[in-house]
Symmetry: C2
Subunit: 362 residues, 2 copies
């Protein structure tokens, strides 16, 4: 979270799902007066009970309104809020940025007080019950500027983003939509299509599944209703990425059709090689383009052993950036795979070994 609060005035949050409730929680933690509204009185009450803000009241005069509703009603609610609160800056957090702006312009709405935005944060589980004040900490939050609004007018949005601990990132609506098409929307379709291939596979085949297919298909558990809206609102851009994907897929299918054909093996090697290059371009977990070093430690399956490891990690003074525990039923020990900054790897391994830990991999 930022050191001191930047935002002044009231904030009105419309829509109390995961994002709306998390924005409310985060801003209230900074002492902001947050008003929560929702078309569903029950949802509003739940979010308020959760600490996301207070109910609307006579005389509310928000400096900024954050519309957190499904993509297909975003433009309509933005228009209503612009009308109802003539002093407020209005933003939305929909996953697509071109469509809502075009819809507002198409309806003839004055957009001098509207600017779209998109926090790159979310969880698999939705609803206010999954909300977290820190949902946006360290995450990029796109501000999708347009010609109809002045920089000065949009300043409150940047303050709100910084108050939530996120990093403002300016992009045009079209650049944003092209970006999420390739790093979010197309991967969702691809993961869903791959997962669909598992529907009719024999149980015995599924018993062979390892971590790879689990990772590839994890986001296939996403909500169809939400994704129909997102993909529908970014259809042509996502379609473009998928057509490029299909052209490559066609080459692989052809190569696999006759592997003895000259060049077939080369197509397969290039496919895997191109994938190597692509995945290497992804920035590190927290948006830095830094990769962490992994240190794997054996942890005996006794109560308190994991505690001892972490106590000693604290004593050694190396920060864990990420951690995975592998523990198989019946095994007498587990493996803790810790991610640390590469500069600390050497010292950590030395210190752990000196303290009697078995480092089984790095």
């Amino acid at each position: 979270m930022s050191e001191s609060r930047r935002l002044e005035g009231q904030v009105r949050v419309v829509g109390s799902g995961l994002l709306g409730a998390s924005i409310g929680l985060g801003l209230r933690a900074q002492g902001v007066d947050v008003i929560v509204d929702d078309v569903s009185p029950a949802a509003r009450t739940l979010a308020i009970d959760y600490g996301a803000g207070r109910a609307p009241a006579e005389g509310d005069d928000p400096a900024i309104i954050v519309v957190c509703v499904p993509p297909d009603v975003t433009a309509q609610i933005v228009e209503r809020e612009l009308h109802d609160y003539p002093n407020a800056l209005v933003t939305d957090v929909a996953s697509v940025k071109g469509a809502p702006l075009r819809e507002l312009l198409g309806r003839g709405v004055d957009v001098t007080r509207y600017i779209g935005s998109h926090p790159m944060a979310g969880r698999e589980r939705g609803g206010p019950i999954s909300a977290r004040a820190d949902l946006f900490v360290g995450r990029p939050w796109v501000i999708a500027g347009h010609d109809g609004i002045t920089y000065r007018r949009a300043a409150a949005l940047e303050d709100l983003i910084l108050d939530l601990g996120a990093t403002p990132l300016e992009m045009s609506p079209d650049d944003h939509d092209a970006g999420v098409a390739v790093v979010s929307h197309a991967p969702q379709v691809i993961a869903s299509l791959m997962a669909a291939r598992l529907r009719d596979a024999p149980d015995a085949s599924l018993g062979l599944a390892g971590q790879g297919v689990r990772d590839v298909t994890r986001i296939a558990a996403s909500d169809p209703a939400l994704w129909v809206q997102i993909l529908g609102a970014n259809a042509s851009t996502v379609g473009g990425v998928l057509r490029e994907f299909r052209a490559d897929l066609d080459r692989v299918i052809e190569a696999l059709g006759d592997v003895s054909h000259p060049g077939a093996m080369r197509v397969i090697a290039e496919t895997i090689g191109d994938g190597n290059q692509g995945v290497a371009r992804l920035p590190g977990k927290h948006g830095q383009s830094k990769t962490f070093a992994q240190v794997v430690v054996r942890v005996d399956d006794r109560p308190g052993e994991m505690g001892r490891l972490f106590t000693e990690m604290g004593e050694i003074g190396v920060n864990m950036e990420d951690l995975r525990i592998e523990h198989s039923p019946g095994a007498q020990f587990g493996l803790a795979e810790m991610s640390v900054v590469p500069e600390h790897e050497e010292r950590l391994v030395d210190d752990l070994i000196r303290r009697g830990w078995t480092v089984t991999g790095r």
Copy 2:
């Protein structure tokens, strides 16, 4: 690991990469006399230094030989080992099982002492330096039987699998290859093709990447040389899965081409819905078809806090099946997402709250 050793006699491991060296380490931990051989003297020495076994010697008479070489030379090495050691059962661990058997039969090799197998274990990093005695613990290990060998003859393979802590799973070579095509080989191609789309994306687009695309493309970092062999040896089966994938992809591309067309949205909803059904069929992390409950706890960013959490988890007496730490730079706390068996969730949450922990999600 199993309570007591089952395997009798020497084991000869041919090929000292990740799998060969891990088999050696695991069996030596059980007191088995393991002989390690490799076409590369340097690789062999490294594996022996690592503790995977001893060098071959005059008079070696292995009960079982495990061939751990790349798929394209597997049949050739199996044939040589059958010839050189006329008393031994010979198995291999190649990722495809139909092709080596067909190649052996095609060469006129007597396969009454050969039975293929495939441990469903591996890591992204290869080589003996990544080897682990526990690599196979709790993992399925396919025994791909065939008509030319008797059950009694193959018993040593089952003993070896059990001694390594793995779970033997009998499947025909064709059923095995169909299984890995859908849960391993096709996902590899799909992940690589998706990752390839990131190659030419602008830096700004990549800055929007979240956990989803990272998961979908993680295995795209795999070795092209290895995958050319695997995909080449299972080409027609993988090609079949990819053609089914393409038929579904074509429908999505068509739907995205005109989202206002009647039925287009339905195609998209069904695509995501089919993916929901497919991913739900994947068995739990360790091969059980059980899913774990997640409990998310806030952990202040102070040395020893994580240690205290794990010490108290031990006191509460709930076993963590998996754990992920989320910690953003600059944030004053992290989040520990712990997976536990659902029956323990309620009690764990109650106990943690009673002990003063903040449970931020479940």
